[in-house]
């Protein structure tokens, strides 16, 4: 169930390029933490180090530690595949498996974990779709392809797929950037409910969204293009948006740059 994330001294590289530099932060269980900052500041890269997706990119490399409760995700004996089974992820563009039905999309992760009993799958699929506020819209067409849903529904399907395996943490990489305002609202509502069960980290370009959904906000910035991104500050969302302790944060939030 929901776990604490404790990052210390984390840097990520693309080949020889240092994309993020020496980041340390703590994310409490059952909270929503938002990452904001200008494009290229490394917030998505940082997010992808939290489930070891960064190293999938050719040349991707990570230094530092990420503790999930007390287990280091980058320990030498840790299998990245098993990390990704406990840290779920939702992407910028909805990406349901196009060849699978709605049901099979949600069950995909469970089947990977070797759970195949029909009755058990039925229950979890319904529970996950309900949890993603999608059940009522799709319960009569579970056998239809997931790619036939609207963009917002597809994204909620992806959330259902991610939470079906009961991850400890749920990472969301700009989950609403490809969606219209109404679908965005639906997802934001959903996030508010999900945080009772999961530790949620969300990257967003939309500062109102960060203000609406998150408990804590982290501001990332980079000194110049070609320089590594850094964590400038992380604090209670209310404080970041009203009275941040660093001038750069205030400049960014008030729209003076970025």
């Amino acid at each position: 169930m929901a776990k604490r994330i404790d990052v210390s001294g984390l840097s990520a590289f693309y080949g020889g390029f240092r994309a993020i530099d020496d980041i340390s932060m703590t994310v409490e269980p059952r909270t929503v933490t938002a990452f904001i900052g200008p494009s290229g500041c490394g917030k998505s890269t940082f997010l992808r180090t939290l489930n070891r997706m960064h190293e999938v990119t050719p040349g991707g490399r990570v230094e530092g530690k990420v503790l999930l409760d007390d287990e280091n995700l980058y320990g030498s004996d840790v299998d990245p595949v098993s990390v990704r089974r406990t840290v779920g992820m939702v992407f910028q563009r909805p990406n349901p498996f196009p060849t699978m039905s709605i049901y099979d999309n949600v069950a995909a992760g469970l089947r990977l974990n070797g759970r195949r009993r029909k009755q058990e799958l039925d229950e979890i699929v319904e529970k996950s779709l309900t949890g993603a506020n999608l059940w009522n819209e799709v319960k009569d067409r579970l056998g239809k392809p997931g790619a036939g849903l609207s963009g917002g529904q597809q994204q909620r399907l992806c959330i259902a797929r991610a939470i079906a395996v009961e991850p400890d943490v749920l990472l969301m990489d700009e989950p609403c950037s490809a969606l219209d305002p109404i679908s965005t609202l639906a997802i934001e509502d959903l996030i508010g409910g999900l945080k009772e069960r999961f530790t949620i980290v969300i990257v967003t370009h939309n500062m109102q969204q960060a203000a609406r959904v998150s408990d804590r906000t982290a501001f990332f910035n980079l000194a110049a293009v070609g320089q590594p991104g850094k964590l400038i500050e992380i604090d209670e969302t209310e404080r970041i948006f009203s009275n941040p302790s660093v001038q750069a944060t205030e400049d960014y939030i008030s729209g003076r740059f970025g």
Binding site: V56, G88, P98
Partner: protein
Amino acid sequence: MDMTQTADAPPPSPPQPSAKPETEVRERPALRAGDRLFLGLSGGSGILLLVLMAAIAGFLSYRAVNAISQDHGNFFTTFEWNTDTTPPVFGIAVLAFGTIVSSIIAMAVAVPVSIGIALFITHYAHRRIASPLAYVVDLLAAVPSIVYGLWGALFLVPHMNGLDLWLDRYFGWTYVFDQSTPGSAARSLFTVSILLAIMIVPIITNVSREVFRQVPRAHQEAALALGATRWEVVRLSVLPFARSGIISASMLGLGRALGETMAVATVLSSSSVLSLHLLDPEGGTFAQNIASHFGEATNFGRDALIAGGLVLFVITLIVNGAARLIIARRKEYSGANA
């Protein structure tokens, strides 16, 4: 242009072309001429293709009917191919059997191997190995079939004995792999099948590789983020997305296997015996039959060979149609709309 013509109707007057309308009138037809040219070229090519297909079918049918009408055997069930005897007796039973069986075996061997190579190149191998490997496969696809034929006859045939003996010993009970005279030279339908498999692997690999390469990163990351291993990523996102592409690639390969001529003619010790013992040097294929007999055939003999060619043509059409049906049936689930 149309507007001015209909509105100002009759007078095709010379005073009309003042400076401004002149340029307008000139500009628009110029564009249209380009459009019309393009339409003519593309539409013409399309129609030309249909005309060509019809011409080939018509030619084949015309000559074939001439031959079949004088055939004193049943064209579909007769084993021998004797067009010089009076009356002529010839049929395609052996050829159809040989063509279809050798192609099926070739596909059964080549498709999994090709998918494996293509996956290795796109998803497993390091880039430093993958690019040269892909290049070699490209080269193999360009080797002329007569070269494969010579290699098959001079290298593959003598080296098939070991495999043949092994199959005979352990799978002889299946009847199909029972060799009548164990250890005889392997100029058999089975050797032909293996050679065909080797020949179509490069084509199927190339096309599948391109398809695998197009699998969207987002689909693969979706699987990865669920905790899929590399093989599970392939199974969950790559193979389903590439399914119709794999079928198309296989059909290309099958087309080549069905129609392959020189390699088969060089390797196979042909006969008019329909033998289910695939390791025996018996049988024939449509294309091989034409290549072996065309040189010395009389006019009538050529018509008969063309009748055989027509059957091959029809088989190829049916195979391709079936493949399209398979692809179309699952369109709703194809990755194309995501």
